[in-house]
């Protein structure tokens, strides 16, 4: 609704209406946090093309259509997952449907001592003090307006605490299902992960959409890593083409932490993965990688912000994408090196393959450096398949479409090969192959 300043703030009303009835209401800090979210979103409004980090991803769809907040989790069963090996992997399973924990679908038996995996709302009711030092502490509401909106709706999702020195024996698999009905559905899941000193864990996220109408999934995850902690984080974003998927992740990294993230995005009418990593202690090592696949009129956005606040940290980013049809890819990556962050080693690279003359990539790698003893680089490439390589394969009798698929897969496999968990790497590869089989067909030879 317009407030006179030209801002549109759709969904703010829905957040304010519901807030007083939520768990945690009456707890001062929770009230204050929800209010801060509503205020920040209200001030900023729905992101517009004027906003520096929303220049290429247009959210008008969210203003044109009114999505209604999901009313509880429908009683759907666990659907078959699109990735076979990860589905068969021994994991601790957390299932969230329409932003609400579904305890009956979770599998959390045998969690080690000093590890808690729970619904956020349950914990907010039972032990809010446990959440207070962490929840809402690292999301910069003024820099992430959609995360601010999520904060205004703050209610449920996954909360995970891993105690000091605990090495979690199995990955945690967070399965997020959006189950729209026949009217446009909105979900606002909120996840919190806290790793103690020298704790180590693997988190796999799967985002899928059940059959139904359009949906808007606005997710926020906050990851706190105490000194020496290690987190491997893999994300499959495979929502339906009727979905707007916006994900905002903030990770606070203590000294000598390692955060290794890999995001595969191929779903959604709009799919955005925004990751803010704060290297707050010396010796932190942050790796943000991703692969994306888009066709038709999809928009796939990878936006990263890496802040080197402490000396001697390393960050690496490699994003690779394949764009077909009239799809658009967006890479916006900023490495921000503060004055004290000497001996920073920061690199970022965006590479896109354009399979169609109407596909587009907007790449904006950015370095902002205030320290004087740093090693930083960035780069972006975009182009078509290499003619020499294609002819080489053709000249060996490999049919043109097979040759194109081989070269595209090869282009992506260099990134996927870096994934340290074999089942994830294989499932990503399988997914890429299926996508290529569906999208790189014999009718499209244009090279």
């Amino acid at each position: 609704m317009p407030d006179g300043s030209g801002h549109m703030q759709p969904y703010l009303d829905q957040a304010l209406e519901g807030a007083s009835n939520l768990v945690g209401s009456g707890v001062d800090w929770i009230d204050a946090l929800r209010r801060a979210g509503a205020d920040a979103y209200g001030t900023h409004g729905l992101p517009k093309r004027r906003d520096e980090y929303w220049r290429y991803t247009n959210l008008n769809a969210l203003a044109d259509e009114e999505f209604r907040l999901a009313n509880g989790a429908p009683a759907i069963g666990l659907p078959s997952l699109p990735h076979k090996l990860v589905a068969e992997l021994a994991t601790y399973r957390v299932v969230v449907v329409n932003g609400r924990l579904r305890p009956d679908l979770c599998a959390l038996d045998g969690l080690p001592d000093d590890v808690l995996v729970s619904g956020l709302e349950d914990l907010m009711a039972a032990a809010p003090a446990r959440l207070e030092p962490y929840l809402g502490k690292i999301i910069r509401l003024d820099e992430m307006p959609m995360a601010a909106l999520n904060t205004a709706f703050l209610r449920d999702g996954m909360a995970m605490f891993v105690g000091d020195r605990v090495v979690l024996d199995k990955p945690v698999h967070l399965i997020s299902i959006t189950a729209p009905g026949d009217r446009p559905l909105m979900v606002q899941p909120r996840h919190l992960v806290v790793l103690g000193k020298n704790a180590s864990a693997t988190l796999i996220e799967t985002h899928i959409t059940a059959e139904g109408g359009s949906s808007f999934n606005n997710i926020v995850a906050e990851l706190h890593m105490d000194d020496g902690a290690k987190l491997n984080h893999f994300v499959f974003q495979e929502e339906a083409e009727t979905s707007v998927h916006l994900s905002g992740t903030a990770v606070a990294m203590g000294a000598d932490t390692t955060y290794d993230s890999f995001v595969l995005q191929s779903g959604g009418a709009i799919g955005r993965s925004e990751i803010h990593a704060y290297l707050n202690g010396t010796g932190g090592d942050c790796r943000l990688d991703g692969v994306y696949l888009a066709s038709d009129k999809q928009v796939v956005d990878n936006t990263t912000f890496v802040e080197h606040a402490a000396p001697g940290c390393r960050s690496r980013q490699v994003y690779k994408g394949v764009l077909d049809g009239q799809s658009r890819g967006v890479f916006q990556g900023k490495v921000h090196v503060l004055r004290d962050a000497q001996q920073t080693d920061g690199h970022q690279l965006s590479r896109a393959l354009l399979l169609s003359p109407r596909a587009e990539i907007d790449a904006r790698p950015e370095l902002e450096i205030y320290a004087d003893d740093v090693k930083c680089s960035h780069g972006a490439t975009a182009g078509e398949l290499d003619d020499d390589s294609l002819f080489y394969l053709l000249s060996r009798g490999i049919p043109r479409e097979d040759a194109r698929r081989m070269l595209i897969e090869a282009f992506l496999s260099e990134a996927i090969a870096e994934i340290p968990l074999e089942q994830v790497a294989e499932d990503f590869t399988t997914h890429v192959r299926q996508w290529l089989a569906n999208n790189v067909g014999s009718a499209r030879g244009q090279d």
């Binding site: 002819f391 060996r396 009798g397 043109r400 081989m406 070269l407 282009f411 992506l412």
Partner: protein
Amino acid sequence: MALLEIKNLHATVDDKPILNGLDLTIGGGEVHAIMGPNGSGKSTLSYVLSGRDGYEVTGGEVLFDGKNLLEMEADERAREGVFLAFQYPVEIPGVTSITFLRTAVNAVRQHHGESPFDAMDFVKYIREKAAGLNVSDDMLKRAVNTGFSGGEKKRMEILQMAALDPKLAILDETDSGLDIDALKVVAEGVNAMRSDERGLLVITHYQRLLDYIVPDHVHVLAKGRIVKSGGKELAHELEESGYAEFLEDAA
């Protein structure tokens, strides 16, 4: 019927005429060498025969086993039995050599109605071919030509030729970038493939390669045409006299 018949072939690259009425006939079991100065059209001929995009045929015809070669796409020509050993083999990171070889060999096998190799059978098949060429399992596991030395790349080309078993092999400046020992290995690999059915077209600037792959016929290419043909002794004459007389004659 000849294996390959090139009649009055004209071709352009970027609208610039490169081949200007080239005639050449190669029979099964014959080894022909084409020699010529830089810019005479040697590499263009190899690309026109193998069907590379951007090489436009503006006149003439090419029959391969009696079929119109120029109507076929590059991949189809390869499956029909035309093989080009590249002067500069292409590096393809992300595709292992063994996968590449198996995909190619199976494409050719299926084209001829044979069943494709499974992974295990293919390893046996390719190891046998690789042994004589000093291509190690390690090379087969690495990405295609990626980080290979000049010698390794050329050995891999010949391995591909052996694996694909073409009717006609075109060797484009196969000696470039090779020292004498590497050249001998490659030449032995090529000679091992000489047979009564297979035709070889060896394109080279220097006579050196022809000491090891001895041709039945030698042709001089200048300004896009064959200007002189002879036996293997012609290569030695050229080594003595150079190409200057042909450049003048053809002008």
